[in-house]
Symmetry: C2
Subunit: 245 residues, 2 copies
């Protein structure tokens, strides 16, 4: 059996159609597999921890891949980074047990969602934030995160088209901060349904706009009805921050 590898990477999602290979679209998986295949002179396949939607960014994405080579991991990383397109970088390559699986071995994932609420749009944060130009009641928004904590059926916070067969997920941490006109939502859970983080962010935003009240959130969760929750916030504000194993 070949050696298994844990590969950590970061990417700017703006110019990619998400992680997973698909026809007629440029994806991160395709670019990363191509770069490894060129340097290793053999076909290389990756299994990623998450599909991630088009436009979503990753600070510490993890994939695993089986291959054998004489090239040291650090030299391999430098070679791959030299030919990867702008916006994708491999941060580390580590040998790991054959049992390690980027998706199934993950204990939890942490996402951040950022909203630029400045009147002008921060030059240095773009394109990694959602720019929102209307007034928001941040104090009211801060009452929301607590309601998502714990184990719940999150069907109300799921878009159609996901592949999940169970809908209960546990949220370990959820918090909101405001600094330099950037609102940052940090959320950590044992797993997330399709678009779940973006719908939670959109629901908190709907509370900030006054369309929903923070104390409505428990009922929205219990209803299991997608239409009761807020909008699906756009992908550019979302970043897969960390995967814990």
């Amino acid at each position: 059996m070949s050696q298994n590898h844990k590969i950590t990477l970061m990417y700017n999602g703006s110019t990619f159609s998400g992680w997973q290979i698909q026809k007629n679209a440029v994806t991160v998986q395709e670019e990363v597999e191509k770069a490894f295949s060129v340097i290793l002179r053999q076909p290389v396949e990756m299994v990623g921890a998450s599909r991630t939607d088009a436009g979503v960014h990753a600070y510490n994405y993890v994939a695993h891949s089986f291959f054998d080579t004489d090239i040291e991991n650090e030299r391999l990383m430098l070679g791959v980074n030299a030919i990867l397109p702008e916006g994708i970088k491999v941060k580390s390559i580590e040998d790991c047990d054959e049992e390690f699986h980027s998706r199934y071995s993950a204990k939890s994932k942490t996402y951040i969602y950022r909203i630029d609420v400045s009147k002008y749009g921060d030059v240095f944060k773009k394109p990694y934030v959602w720019r929102f130009r209307y007034p928001l009641d941040f104090e009211e928004m801060q009452k929301c995160p607590q309601h998502f904590l714990g184990k719940h059926d999150f069907s109300a916070f799921m878009s159609k088209g996901g592949q999940a067969k169970t809908f209960e997920r546990t949220i370990y941490e959820c918090s909101l901060s405001l600094e330099n006109d950037i609102i940052t939502m940090t959320i950590k859970g044992d797993g997330f349904l399709y678009n779940m983080v973006r719908i939670i962010a959109g629901t908190i935003l709907s509370v900030g706009r006054g369309y929903l009240k923070s104390e409505d959130i428990p009922d929205i969760i219990l209803s299991k009805e997608r239409k009761k929750a807020g909008i699906t916030a756009p992908p550019e504000g979302l970043m897969l921050y960390e995967i814990e194993y």
Copy 2:
């Protein structure tokens, strides 16, 4: 006399030849004056707080400008931002006393200089950092900032071509931190000679490389000889962070 205005702006220096208008180069001042002139339908001139070199970024740059208009400051800002090129944003426009001068009224300036020391190059920090790929002794670098504090003749930390007639400057704060493979130098002073921040950053880097020792810095300052200090660090890592009035 027309109304004086304090104008705060941010810009990504990567694509501009600094602040100050010059022939055959695209500068921030030119773009900002042009945008104000279009919206106000009158020629508008700005006086900026600092020239800033080509490639240097600004988080809170300040200029002042005399003009009269019926347009409210916030509407004017939105109009100007709508036509400014990518990478420049006006953050605020405030009426101010006729005595206010963006340069002469400034009490101090704070700059940050950032070095990306990761092996891969942070996708999200580029192009706002200097990427440096060789090993650095950060512990030794941390002994440097204290030596710059206080009032000194900083002739050794000045490139030729500046317009300063006195060479004493007072440094109020100087510190170094390391987080997520980014070294950040923060420096606040009553003024800076030509390229002074970049030469201080380059000197601290030379200490990190072992070419200089931190305890040599007082003698380098006393020598007033440019050649005794370290290199001039490149502009892309430098950001004018704040101007205090």
